[in-house]
């Protein structure tokens, strides 16, 4: 229990630190919101008035504390661009992104685990060659290239899926569903490579270990050896990689969503950067930090639960 508590405290500190860094980073961006909002045609008077209205003339630390206070009460602030609550923009976007993430994770992780284990079992034979080769290519090609190629093939040459999403953030799940597959596939391919590699080497290690050899010598069927003994042990080192990948998904999604104009958190983030919509940007950054920390926490706790050896030593 103490271990768990310590992990939780560390996580909260990480999130607060991340929020401060994000706030500072956003302040350092060139150009200010007022002139950005009013555009090239802005008169100096109009810019000054808007700066006053937005509270930009207050010192940065004061704005940070006010914002942090609001955050604790669940108030993400007001968007500088639309004038509505940040939550109204961020939550639907997050829901849409979750849709891609769930598809990418469920399909991607299952497939890559299976492929990784198969590659490990057929080490250095042709299935291993194909799986390792393809996953290495998937790892090396940036996800936006994968996404662009998928769009070119499956939306323009053979129009099976839509090339871009035209609906806004408040689109229903049914409206979004046809558009989810290409970005999810792009993310899944990029993510799969790591997990395949990890699951493969873990399987090889486990299959060479003494307890598996013992099980084989006892005359158990190969099927039983793999499923009952090898697989659970091989999964353990993969857990961390999966957790990191889920967190990475949040970053990859920024790039891939913009390729297909998917109305998720990534598109919202890029829009906020170019509009200098600081409250939205900060909210997204903090949410990303929370997701990242939660994924790692979950991986740690799961490892703790699966492997009794780790419970000591803290």
């Amino acid at each position: 229990v103490r271990t768990v508590l310590r992990r939780l405290v560390a996580s909260i500190v990480t999130v607060v630190l991340a929020s401060a860094l994000v706030f500072l980073g956003v302040q350092a961006l060139p150009g200010d919101v007022a002139s950005q909002l009013l555009g090239q045609d802005a008169t100096p008077d109009a810019v000054a008035t808007l700066r006053g209205q937005l509270g930009l003339d207050q010192p940065a630390w004061q704005r940070y504390l006010e914002w942090l206070g609001g955050l604790l009460q669940g108030d993400l602030g007001t968007s500088l661009v639309t004038g509505s609550g940040v939550g109204e923009q961020v939550w639907p976007a997050l829901r849409n992104t979750a849709l891609i993430a769930v598809v990418a994770i469920v399909v991607g992780i299952t497939a890559s685990l299976v492929l990784g284990v198969v590659a490990g079992l057929y080490r250095d034979r042709w299935p291993d060659g194909i799986i390792s080769g393809v996953s290495l290519v998937g790892m090396s090609v940036p996800e936006f290239v994968v996404a662009t190629v998928l769009v070119l093939l499956f939306a323009i040459v053979w129009p099976v899926f839509p090339a871009v999403v035209l609906e806004g953030r408040d689109a229903t799940v049914v409206e979004l569903l046809p558009a989810v597959w290409l970005p999810a596939a792009a993310l899944g391919i990029a993510m799969a490579a790591y997990i395949v590699r990890m699951a493969r080497s873990a399987t090889i290690d486990v299959m060479a270990s003494e307890f598996v050899q013992t099980a084989e010598l006892k005359g158990l069927s190969r099927r039983r050896v793999v499923l009952r003994h090898a697989l659970p042990s091989a999964l353990l080192p993969t857990l961390n990689v999966i957790a990191l990948n889920v967190a990475w998904l949040f970053g990859g999604v920024v790039v891939v969503e913009n390729v297909v104009n998917y109305p998720g958190i990534g598109t919202l983030m890029l829009q906020s950067v170019s509009n200098r919509d600081l409250p939205v940007l900060q909210a997204i950054a903090v949410i990303s930090a929370v997701v990242y920390v939660l994924c790692n926490l979950a991986a740690d706790l799961a490892a703790l639960a699966l492997d009794p050896r780790q419970r000591k030593g803290f």
Partner: protein, 413 residues
């Protein structure tokens, strides 16, 4: 000077009410209200006192001007000057009725059957916001959208679009106006001889060919596009030798300078490079300085001696000269202030004789070419991606013909 506007009868608002002189006065007053913060207010405020507007009858509005301006009517054609009812948001008199609007999201309008020019061809127009230009183009190529609006395709993308089965490219001649402004308040451009040398030194045809593959017209430093009714065929004739001797006279031989650019528009950097290469012959050495695109217009533009920018054409000659070349205007990107030129503009505005006004605006063009701070190499065509099914796409100034635009099938029926 007083302007009397006789309003068209039979024009109605989208909620069915008649459009009257009272409405026109209210719309003009709304435009001038500092709280509205209209970009066009800076142009109109020195001319109109909203309290002095006189509604003579239902359809007659008299606008007494604070300073004479025979081009006042053309200033009201600016795209910020549509009539609107301050009391009813989204109610206008145009061919389409606002149905839905979400910032950075979807929007839609439906045909207004009682429009004074008759019902528009299309029943409904749906707008989608796509931030990434590549994604916008893909949407067109995949047949998901019929028109990529507000996007000037670069020449390479335009070739891809034109080669597709579903989409093609509509060309709006000379719609993009490219400028290399020299800040006349900064050395070495305080000296008019240096400004002239920088205009004489380069070959506009080379810049046009290298940056947009010839899709446009050379401007030869005349900022008025050839389509303008007041345009005069006058511009700088390239002469690198004379440029060299002007620089020698000014004591500025072997000049080395930075030219600022950014990726804000894809043409700016190629234009700066083409210009740099072209002026080398006259002994001018330039270094390309690429600035961040999202702060270019706030931190670099109008703050360095030599930069690159673009505007849309479509302003009337009067608005163009008074906004971008008159001393003291907030858009005067060369910070040029020449009383003789400003007097020329005042004389043109005060003249009600169209022929005389044309002569004066033509003198203004010659004056800008010879003395001003703007190097204007070219006007480039705007390349707009449209579906092959779209017919009657016509752009005028900042807008396109909303009434005529339609689909092939609909026209055949």
């Amino acid at each position: 000077m007083r302007w009397t506007f006789h309003l068209r009868s039979g024009v109605t608002w989208h909620d069915g009410k008649d459009f009257t002189a009272d409405d026109a006065a209210a719309a003009l007053a709304h435009l001038l209200d500092p709280d509205t913060a209209s970009p066009q207010a800076a142009v109109l405020t020195p001319l109109v006192d909203p309290a002095a507007l006189q509604v003579v009858d239902e359809l007659t509005l008299v606008v007494p001007l604070l300073a004479p301006n025979a081009e006042f009517g053309s200033l009201l054609t600016n795209y910020n000057c549509y009539v609107a009812r301050p009391d009813a948001v989204g109610v206008g008199t145009g061919p389409f009725v606002l149905e839905e609007f979400t910032p950075a999201g979807r929007g839609s309008v439906t045909a207004y059957a009682d429009h004074w020019r008759g019902r528009p061809t299309l029943d409904r127009v749906v707008f989608s916001s796509v931030a990434d230009v590549g994604a916008r183009t893909n949407a067109l190529l995949a047949g998901q959208v019929d028109l990529v609006s507000q996007t000037n395709l670069d020449v390479a993308t335009a070739r891809v679009v034109a080669a597709s089965d579903r989409a093609t490219v509509a060309r709006v001649p000379n719609a993009q106006w490219y400028v290399l402004p020299m800040l006349t308040t900064a050395a070495p451009f305080t000296d008019v001889r240096v400004r002239q040398a920088f205009k004489l030194a380069y070959d506009p045809q080379a810049v046009l060919d290298l940056t947009v593959a010839g899709n446009g017209t050379v401007a030869r430093d005349n900022p008025l596009p050839p389509e303008d009714p007041y345009w005069v065929d006058y511009g700088t004739e390239r002469d690198p030798e004379r440029a060299r001797s002007l620089l020698r006279e000014a004591g500025m031989e072997n000049l080395e300078l930075d030219i600022s650019t950014s990726s804000y528009d894809p043409i700016l950097t190629p234009m700066a490079i083409a210009y740099r290469d072209s002026v080398a012959e006259a002994g001018i050495r330039l270094n390309i300085s690429t600035e961040s695109a999202d702060s270019y217009f706030t931190s670099t533009w109008m703050q360095v001696p030599l930069m690159s920018t673009y505007w849309y054409t479509g302003r009337s000659a009067d608005q163009l000269f008074n906004q971008i070349f008159r001393g003291g205007s907030s858009y005067n990107e060369t910070a040029w202030s020449d009383p003789a030129f400003d007097q020329l503009l005042d004389a043109a505005r005060a003249s009600v004789d169209t022929d005389r006004r044309r002569t004066l605006y033509q003198d203004a063009q010659r004056y800008v070419v010879d003395n001003g701070g703007a190097i204007t190499p070219m006007f480039a065509d705007r390349l707009v991606g449209i579906s092959r099914d779209v017919v009657n796409y016509r752009e005028v100034g900042f807008e396109f013909d909303w009434i005529g635009i339609g689909f092939k099938q609909a026209v055949q029926e």
